[in-house]
């Protein structure tokens, strides 16, 4: 079955430092991966999706099939990036469902 692993519960960086939020997955076949962001007590929002290859708010993510990873990166962290970040991929077995990782809380310190 599919699995999403986000090994870090909390990542603390200083403003202006690079950020890398880790996501590893297991999936049969070629996955479509997503990153969602949740600012304090707000709804989850789609940050970016693998297939669009966009850069949103300065964040990028590259799918590495060899390492089964989809790490989220940003070269220079901003205070407003402080949030909870979730990696997700479609659940195997149909139903148009998403399986989420446990999330990483990013804290950007001044």
């Amino acid at each position: 079955a599919q699995r999403v692993t986000q090994p870090e519960k909390l990542l603390s960086v200083f403003k202006g430092a690079p950020v890398e939020l880790k996501c590893n997955y297991s999936y049969s076949g070629s996955p479509e991966l997503f990153w969602y962001v949740q600012y304090s007590r707000q709804r989850l929002q789609l940050l970016l999706r693998h297939i669009s290859r966009e850069s949103i708010k300065g964040f990028t993510a590259d799918l590495n099939k060899g390492e089964t990873s989809f790490h989220l990166k940003k070269p220079f962290a901003q205070e407003e990036d402080s949030a909870m970040y979730y990696c997700a991929l479609p659940s195997e077995g149909g139903g148009n469902k998403l399986t989420f990782g446990t999330g990483t809380q990013l804290k950007v310190e001044l």
């Binding site: 707000q42 148009n96 469902k97 989420f100």
Partner: protein, 112 residues
């Protein structure tokens, strides 16, 4: 933002009472989902719907039931609330593949 509204936004209830949470969408999306969000567990799927009157279980469905009598409404019922069901509940919708989900604002439920 996608038109998704959850009600109530906050609720405190007593152990053993039934509770119903409502999700309403104005996007006419086919798929609707209920997730719960808990520290250390992320989001876990409770139930989902793939059409009117078509629902199926997710990974943490015990103690919960759902109904979808109209495209726009998806109800989650806790048949007899327990303290372990204290959580934040999120409704989500999607239409296409891959399932890019749009979320509601969440319902914070406390069972005392």
């Amino acid at each position: 933002d996608a038109g998704i509204t959850q009600s109530p936004r906050h609720k405190v209830t007593e152990t053993g009472t039934p509770v119903t949470l409502r999700c309403h969408q104005t996007e006419n999306h086919r798929y609707m989902y209920w997730y719960r969000q808990d520290p250390g567990h992320g989001l876990r799927l409770i139930h989902y719907s793939y059409g009117v009157k078509d629902t199926d279980k997710g990974e943490v469905s015990d103690g919960y039931s759902v109904s979808r009598s109209k495209t726009e409404d998806f109800l989650l019922t806790l048949e007899s609330a327990t303290s372990s069901q204290t959580s934040v509940y999120f409704c989500a919708i999607s239409e296409s593949w891959p399932p890019e989900a749009f979320f509601g604002q969440g319902t914070r439920l406390t069972v005392v």
